[in-house]
């Protein structure tokens, strides 16, 4: 609609705010901004009025008061005399724990199922289709309670392990006990332990880091570093002479020896679970609620990841497979060396959003009594203190922060593997 006239020389008129495209966008934005401000102001004033009528004052003082309740699953030290803030912190760590575990298993399962769905074996591919449809079309919450019910109803109770002729026995040479209270597995123990580093003193957010763990990890990293050096050297030799020296025993030794030495020095041994009193004692107790949530999240998300993987693989043109066959690669080598690396670029962006979904879905923990952030801060704390506004807003911001963090990290990773195009 532009016409070739002289640029308008006339002075500014009010109607230009609407009719002149140079100013119109400004007008719209200012109106939008004002509208937004008014909305926020309106909400805040309503809230203030309502809270006053209820006789409540927003305050975060409850966070430093003793929580009074116990939490069974905790990654850091906590008892009922600790503060509500500490309880919330325990909840955040539990959320992150199940999210990380879920993402790892969901990815592994999803890739396997996605690849198997394309299998030439009719029965297998149909079975995988049924799996995917079954999990995608039934609500996650139903799966969580369902799996929890299966764990509770079908596994033996600890008391079944008791007596002369117990109904149930421990597995794997008496090292693993699978009960309907959870799975007890051996725990790593160090008889010459280096102790812990205490961070944050006596603050609610204090936590300990095991020096033993740091030592083992350091040894492992040194080993991996040496292994890489060996590999580089072997590559160099291969480049110059054409013969690749046999290095696998060197690599293996480089990884195993330092780690093993540190473990022996620390007096590493396994602590086995044992039936004492009402429960198994010792070992790591993976609770029912954690397992049910973890399984349900992984199985459910795996169905979605399988579809993404399948779509990713189908997106790679058939020529790639044919070229790989022409080079003499066998089908599974083709898959792992040619197809999957390329498909990965298609797969990663939707995979990120599935990780995000899984993390957010972990809030359904409440259905099985897994004490994550929703269970502690937005659950018991909310109930006991009656501070809905503060706890719910705090909980939402924490989830938001976690989500943004994950998408930032994953986007950064995505950018780093993206094809550099012209």
């Amino acid at each position: 609609m532009t016409t070739l006239t002289d640029p308008p020389k006339e002075s500014f008129r009010l109607s230009m705010l609407i009719y002149d495209t140079r100013y119109r966008s400004l007008t719209i934005q200012v109106i939008a901004m004002i509208g937004f401000m008014v909305l926020i102001g309106w909400l805040i004033s309503n809230t203030a009025q309502n809270l006053q009528a209820l006789g409540k004052e927003p305050s975060f003082r409850f966070l430093s008061e003793p929580a009074g309740y116990d939490i069974n699953q905790r990654l850091i030290e906590y008892d009922s005399q600790a503060t509500h803030l500490r309880a919330a912190f325990v909840g955040i760590l539990n959320t992150l724990l199940v999210a990380v575990m879920g993402c790892i298993t969901a990815t592994i399962l999803g890739v396997i199922i996605g690849v198997l769905r394309l299998s030439k074996n009719w029965l297998i591919s149909r079975l995988m289709t049924i799996y995917v449809e079954m999990f995608r079309n039934v609500p996650l919450l139903l799966w969580i309670v369902f799996i929890m019910a299966i764990l509770i109803e079908t596994l033996p109770a600890p008391r079944a392990f008791r007596g002369e002729t117990p109904e149930a026995t421990m597995n794997l040479a008496d090292s693993v006990a699978i009960t309907n209270r959870g799975v007890y597995v051996p725990e790593p123990l160090f008889s010459n332990s280096l102790g812990n580093i205490h961070l944050f003193g006596e603050h609610s957010l204090r936590f300990d880091i095991s020096l033993d763990l740091i030592a083992v990890l350091a040894a492992l990293f040194i080993g991996l570093f040496i292994r890489r050096k060996i590999k580089t050297r072997a590559d160099a030799i291969q480049e110059s002479t054409g013969d690749r020296p046999t290095t696998w025993y060197l690599s293996l030794g480089a990884v195993v020896i330092p780690t093993g030495a540190v473990l022996i020095a620390l007096g590493f041994h396994l602590g086995y679970p044992e039936l004492k009193g009402f429960n198994f004692k010792g070992g790591i107790h993976m609770r029912n609620s954690l397992i049910a949530l973890w399984l349900a999240l992984s199985l459910y998300t795996a169905a979605f990841i399988a579809e993404i993987v399948r779509a990713g693989i189908l997106a790679i043109s058939k020529g790639q497979t044919e070229a790989a066959s022409a080079l003499g690669l066998r089908p599974n080598r083709t898959m792992s060396l040619v197809i999957l690396p390329q498909a990965l670029r298609v797969i990663i962006p939707p995979l990120i959003s599935n990780y995000l979904n899984l993390t957010k879905n972990s809030s359904l923990a409440i259905a099985v009594g897994y004490m994550d952030l929703t269970g502690t801060l937005m659950g018991v704390t909310l109930n006991q203190t009656g501070r809905e506004l503060e706890t719910v807003l705090m909980g939402m911001s924490i989830y938001l922060a976690i989500s943004l963090l994950i998408s930032m990290v994953m986007n950064w990773y995505n950018n780093s593997v993206k094809l550099v195009e012209r």
């Binding site: 009922s80 209270r181 009193g277 009402f278 018991v380």
Partner: protein
Amino acid sequence: MKKSVFLGALTVAGLAAGAAAAGTLDDVKARGKLNCGVTTGLVGFAAPDANGNWDGFDVGVCRAVAAAVLGDAQAVEFVPTTGKTRFTALASGEIDMLARNTTWTFSRDVDLKFEFVGVNYYDGQGFMVPKELGVSSAKELDGATVCIQTGTTTELNLADFFRANNISYEPVPIETNAEAQQQYLAGACDVYTTDASGLAATRATFEAPGDHVVLPEIISKEPLGPLVRHGDHEWGDVVRWTLNALISAEELGVTSANIAELAAGTDVPETNRLLGTEGTLGEMLGLEADWAVKAIAAGGNYGELFEKNIGEATPIALSRGLNASYKDGGLLYSPPFR
């Protein structure tokens, strides 16, 4: 175009909801329905049947209030609430009263700004264990796994009890009674702890109730009662005195069977005042003279409600115990109607 669904729905909702204006009593009368908060389902206390009709001990209190205020025991809208939503539902005016086996505590009364109008069930937190564990006292529960319902005072009592006795335990938090029962029966927890009435109710529905014992320790006082919002005293009075009318009726021997006869007039002055044939108690409350007659006729007096829903003839088989009238050595004692 689709936006109008919202507006249309709002219009309809506007008709249904109505704004919370002056006093709750006037609101309820104008609405013609009492909004009563109950649990989402607890055997004997409140549960919907196949037709969606609610029944139970707490439900009986709601119906009595509806009958007293509106003259119709069916004019109740039951709003199921969870442990988490119950207090906000009451505070925000979504419900007029809460009858959801809620413990009367200092902080709920003072800090959360509610008004407990009385106690309809004196309870205490107990423990139930399978007999085969051979436990005879809660102090022998060192290291046990304990199922508790979250969002209740029991959670705090439990922590206090084990800490005071310096023994350890593993809590398994659970949302509803049905789930707790499932876990307990499967042996996923050794002990189930909740109010003793709840334990009895749960135990009654087991296949073999005899295999389970309720331990003698009662570790807390749990006076359960209906509550209303702080500050609306007229409405608080209505609910309080409806509850007292049910209790008084039992003391005075007024039952749903003989009430029609007694409402015609008796020789007992207090019965007459209660039933509105003497004095103006109903008017003082802002209700009709025969408000208490309707409340009692709705489901019977306190004793009848108890026997019908949770008493010894029901599968739950609770004995009156503390909840007997003071005349029989219990704690129920209504202030006089005068």
